[in-house]
Symmetry: C2
Subunit: 187 residues, 2 copies
DNA sequence: GACAAAACGGAGCAGGTGTTCCAGATGCGG
DNA sequence: CCGCATCTGGAACACCTGCTCCGTTTTGTC
């Protein structure tokens, strides 16, 4: 096995990752590999050399961001204020959706590319249950609200599609706050 | 120009429309024309003879359903109970999404196939504004709620995608009720 | 500079889409 | 039952996708 990595290979690999990050953020996970190659000023074969399959490329691009999400989730778990922990999680989710069309898709499991993040998804799911449980215990959640409601809300945000990207941002933020209002106990 | 319509042509046209209706309802507006032809037990050329373009087929299939939606909207406008009018509209929207993946896509304008229904969409939009205005006047809406919030909620429902079709139905219904809870005035 | 290993670019393959072409089947008026 | 306009089925075209092959270029070493 080769031990060295040629400098041009390394440079190209980074260019591909960088271009793919931008492409997936703007256009979602459906952006063609050719388009990523074009943005990187690189041939398709170069992309495939570094990432044997399209899914590998997506995984590579999203892994660090997913790690950040997991970290934020862990931080929410130790927040002493149950409502702030849950609402913050939802609002962060909405903000992420505005910045990066691909990330939540992978996180929530609506996209098969998220299979590589099975562990993180399970972690996320478990954390959400804990957050809802705590919020209920603190009495800040409307009666009858279940984890499935929160999950449905997050899924709605993640699969939200609107026509112009700017208008979309406004609607997503409104949607997030509307969901929060629906979750909170009337008092 | 020909005046007569051959009986087989008419029969096939109806079979195509019927098959397309089912296909779009189950799989959304992205179902390939070939698949519709297969379901109709008909060649692709037959589909294209009756509907010169894919968009024409979609329009033909959805037009009657869109008309029904418009009728329901007009009925909501004369409902004496403002909250029932608005909440009913939203819940109907959610139910439609469970039954027919394609319909709301066209109605809300998230899909280009809805361009043919520009008039109905405008009508729908205007009616929504009226409904929200009346609900506000009656004091049944939470302060700060705007038409954009309702629109965001409907768009979320329309673009909602979950993996298994059964699980999806549960989540959509929950989402609808959650949104309603977020809209209603706390009292 | 020479040279081999490593990496590259782009043509090309397999499979999918929307749409068109045309030889042949089909319904209908005589 | 005949003739023919109409209609049909499936092959074919153009274009898109993920992915691979291979002749050519680049890099690091001596």
């Amino acid at each position: 096995m080769s031990r060295i990595e040629r400098s041009d290979a390394r440079a190209n690999r980074e260019r591909v990752v960088s271009a793919a990050r931008g492409a997936f953020a703007e256009g979602g996970l459906e952006v063609p590999v050719r388009e990523v190659a074009r943005r990187s000023c690189v041939g398709v074969a170069t992309v495939y050399r570094h990432f044997p399959t399209r899914a590998d490329l997506i995984t590579a691009v999203l892994s660090e961001r997913v790690a950040v999400c997991s970290a934020e989730m862990r931080q929410a778990l130790v927040d002493p204020d149950p409502w702030r922990a849950l609402s913050g999680t939802i609002l962060r989710f909405a903000d992420r959706q505005m910045q990066d069309r691909g990330l939540n898709e992978a996180l929530l499991g609506s996209h098969e590319a998220g299979l590589a993040f099975r562990r993180e998804r399970n972690e996320h799911s478990a954390a959400l249950e804990t957050l809802v449980g705590r919020a209920h215990a603190a009495g800040v959640l409307r009666e009858g609200v279940a984890v499935e409601d929160v999950r449905a809300g997050l899924l709605a945000i993640a699969s939200f599609r609107a026509l112009p990207p700017e208008r979309s941002a406004v609607l997503i933020r409104r949607l997030g706050k509307l969901l929060l209002a629906g979750l909170r106990a009337p008092n």
